[in-house]
């Protein structure tokens, strides 16, 4: 076990560093741009928004909460402290709801939608890719061009196509939302059934996207491994073909895992856009409404949460990888 410690500590260290970097970026980036969002709040107040008492309340609370009258670096620590307590202030566009309230509802929709979909797509994509690498014949010839085409579709493209085919045209599945519009979220069978029905299309579109990209990567990894010297040597030592297949699959899968760790951020981004197409009640849709409502506190919180989600996913995969790839331990122990 000792051999792993250095690896884990290293990864944990990076996790903390990137987390801090994420906070810094989230805080300073918008403030360094010409259109300072905090200044925009004041401007809006002057313009007199329709809900002027709301703006007034937001402004006062914002000043207090984020200390906008204090120097920038001091503001940052105040902000950090607030964020760590889960306090993101009021939402502009959905006042008097707080950002935390808006997010607590949508975060789970996103988590429950995206992570299973990405993992499932990854597993299926890799299996298909490996099979395609082995059986060069029919499957490879048919499946690969399809995968290549799919992987070239933008994330929202897949969502739109599924929506048009299965919801708008065939009317098999609902086109938008996370549950039937006349329901109130609860744990009843009816509600869960409706949620499941609404889950299928967004899930499928994320899965299909993941499959396309992963299958291609896995196929070329597996082909590369199949041509590796150890495959030939193992054959000549009389090792059975299916044992060799296991070697190849395992060795080809390892870089795919690291690949997933690095691609997870992009995948989450793509999935968010897919959510928007389906008006799924997750973070993507919140982000869209936040952007169209110029709701800076909400945007800032959503992007931060997305980043943290990506960082956690990345960290989890790296840790898992540490257990799976024996070379990690070997490399760390000397």
């Amino acid at each position: 076990m000792k051999g792993y410690r250095r690896y884990f500590l290293n990864k944990a260290g990076w996790f903390v560093i990137t987390l801090i970097a994420a906070f810094l970026l989230n805080f300073f980036l918008p403030r360094m741009m010409p259109g300072d969002p905090v200044a925009a709040i004041v401007a809006r107040q002057a313009q007199g928004m329709s809900n002027s008492t709301g703006v007034q309340a937001i402004y006062e609370q914002y000043t207090k909460l984020f200390g906008t009258d204090k120097p920038l670096f001091q503001q940052f620590f105040i902000y950090m402290g607030n964020v760590l307590r889960g306090d993101f202030g009021y939402s502009f566009s959905q006042y008097p709801r707080t950002v935390a309230e808006v997010l607590s509802a949508s975060l789970w929709w996103t988590v429950v939608l995206q992570f299973p979909a990405i993992i499932f797509g990854w597993v299926v994509g890799n299996s298909l890719g490996a099979i395609a690498a082995y059986r060069k014949g029919g499957l490879d010839k048919v499946a690969m061009p399809i995968s290549i085409l799919i992987s070239n579709l933008p994330a929202f493209g897949m969502a739109v196509i599924l929506l048009v085919v299965f919801a708008a045209t065939l009317k098999w599945l609902p086109a938008s939302g996370g549950y039937a519009f006349d329901m109130i979220p609860s744990l009843s069978v009816n509600f869960l059934g409706s949620a499941l029905l609404h889950y299928i299309l967004p899930f499928a579109s994320i899965v299909l996207l993941a499959i396309g990209g992963q299958a291609i990567g896995m196929r070329s990894m597996a082909i590369y491994e199949l041509n590796a010297d150890y495959v030939r040597y193992s054959r000549f030592m009389g090792i059975k073909d299916n044992q060799i297949s296991r070697y190849v699959f395992r060795n080809a899968m390892l870089p795919q895992i690291t690949g997933l760790a690095l691609a997870i951020g992009t995948m989450i981004g793509g999935a968010l856009v897919a959510e928007i197409i389906f008006s799924y009640p997750g973070l993507g849709t919140v982000l869209l409404t936040a952007i169209s409502g110029r709701d800076y506190p909400l945007i800032s919180a959503v992007t931060l949460i997305i980043t943290i989600m990506a960082l956690i996913a990345n960290f989890a995969i790296e840790i898992l990888y540490g257990f799976i790839d024996p070379r990690i331990k070997a490399a760390q122990s000397d």
Binding site: P34, N152, L153, P154, N227, I268, G269, Y296, L311
Partner: protein, 417 residues
């Protein structure tokens, strides 16, 4: 260099991708030369006109010559166009309710059906259990098929300015035809119009061009930054490498979409033109190139020819230009293509989020997609407003990926099988 190009063009995949891309480029360049109408002009009153050839009805009536053509089945076609299958089924339903025996109704015989309808339909009749909407529907059907079986032509009348009375000015017979080339106002809308009433095809052509430009600007910026940082990190090494590597590792895991959103939002609506968006995309997507260039440079750094140059006291710039760049050029070129296609996708994603270029004088593929989504073209079945956009994006990224795969196979023969 020439050799490299020849090698690249020996790959079928590269050539296919290249041809597709050049085809798109040719379209982008040639189309506006032939059809000069501004692509964002609002020409249609109403939303989502379907694709087709639009012939001025006024000009058709006033065409210089009318020709008489006696064509078989003209009447039948006329009926078929107005009387859809679902209407026939609905009519049968009504007639059955009205008491006509079911076996007497043959919906495939339009003539009989219409006569039956004329005999039995009564707009005022209340059918039990029928919703108001359904009743309205039947009234609409009834109006639509009025006079469908008549063999008379239509009369054109003009209003007398003084008395207001109508006076016959001409007649259009059912056998009258005009030659489309004699009609002065004909507009072909190959992809119909969008929600604002603009020619989708003209807009699409322009959008492909703009999106490609955004891609190229962003790609050049990203590749430029990546190349410089990668060269510095890889060749200079030491503390420089540590710092650059540290930064790259951080940006590697922070989703670039997040950076894009934060910067784009902060830039503000007003200053977010197409060029700004391209720059923002460019400065947020250099990470991969940096890493890859760094790795390549490190593997080159201690090769004999580089050491020889170092020993001969050549300057850093000269070594990089003469002994390192040529070896990574093919790779950098591939990275550039990849960045371009990624940037086009990034623009589309941003636009869907409502953070795309905020201009009304150029369309981009992302903006077209956003408009189509906002106006629910996909749910309303107006495929021409979004599907061609999707196809264009896919074609661009697909052709670029083909080019990269082709180049990869040429330059890394290991993958060839």
């Amino acid at each position: 260099m020439r050799h490299t190009f020849r090698q690249a063009f020996s790959s079928g995949k590269f050539v296919t991708g290249f041809v597709i891309l050049m085809g798109l480029l040719l379209l982008v360049i040639l189309y506006p030369l032939i059809f000069r109408a501004p692509p964002l002009q609002i020409i249609a009153q109403g939303t989502f006109f379907p694709p087709g050839i639009y012939v001025s009805a006024y000009d058709s009536i006033n065409a210089p010559t009318t020709y008489t053509l006696n064509l078989d089945g003209a009447a039948a076609k006329r009926v078929a166009a107005k009387l859809k299958d679902e209407d026939r089924v609905a009519m049968k339903e009504w007639l059955v309710v009205a008491g006509v025996p079911e076996d007497q109704i043959d919906i495939s015989d339009a003539q009989k059906l219409l006569t039956l309808w004329a005999e039995n339909y009564d707009p005022a009749k209340q059918v039990k259990g029928m919703t108001l909407a359904r009743q309205r529907y039947f009234q609409r059907v009834n109006n639509a098929i009025q006079g469908l079986l008549s063999t008379e032509g239509a009369i054109i009348a003009v209003r007398q300015p003084e008395s207001g009375a109508l006076q016959e000015a001409g007649a259009v017979k059912q056998t009258d035809y005009v030659n489309i080339s004699e009609v002065p106002n004909v507009r072909i809308l190959p992809l119909g119009t969008d929600n604002f009433g603009r020619d989708v095809f003209a807009q699409l052509v322009r959008a492909i061009g703009v999106s490609l430009l955004i891609g190229i600007v962003a790609g050049l910026i990203a590749t430029g930054i990546g190349l410089v940082l990668g060269l510095l990190a890889g060749y200079v090494g030491g503390a420089v490498d540590d710092v650059i590597n540290f930064i790259t590792n951080i940006f590697l895991v922070i989703p670039s979409l997040v950076l894009l959103i934060l910067i784009s939002f902060s830039v503000g609506q007003e200053s977010r033109g197409a060029f700004t968006v391209a720059v923002v995309i460019g400065v947020t997507s250099w990470v991969w190139t940096t890493r890859a260039v760094r790795a390549q440079v490190i593997s080159l750094r201690n090769r004999d020819h580089v050491n020889l140059s170092k020993l001969s006291g050549h300057s850093l710039f000269r070594i990089i230009r003469g002994d390192i760049l040529p070896y990574i050029m093919s790779y950098v070129f591939m990275a550039l293509i990849l960045q371009i296609s990624a940037a086009i996708l990034a623009e589309a994603n941003l636009s869907i989020l409502g953070l795309g270029p905020r201009t009304t004088d150029v369309p981009t593929l992302g903006l077209m997609m956003q408009w189509a989504m906002i106006y629910q073209a996909h749910i309303l079945g107006k495929w021409w407003a979004y599907f061609p956009v999707l196809i264009s994006i896919t074609l661009i990224t697909f052709s670029m990926n083909l080019m990269i795969t082709g180049l990869d196979q040429v330059f890394n023969p290991q993958l060839r099988n």
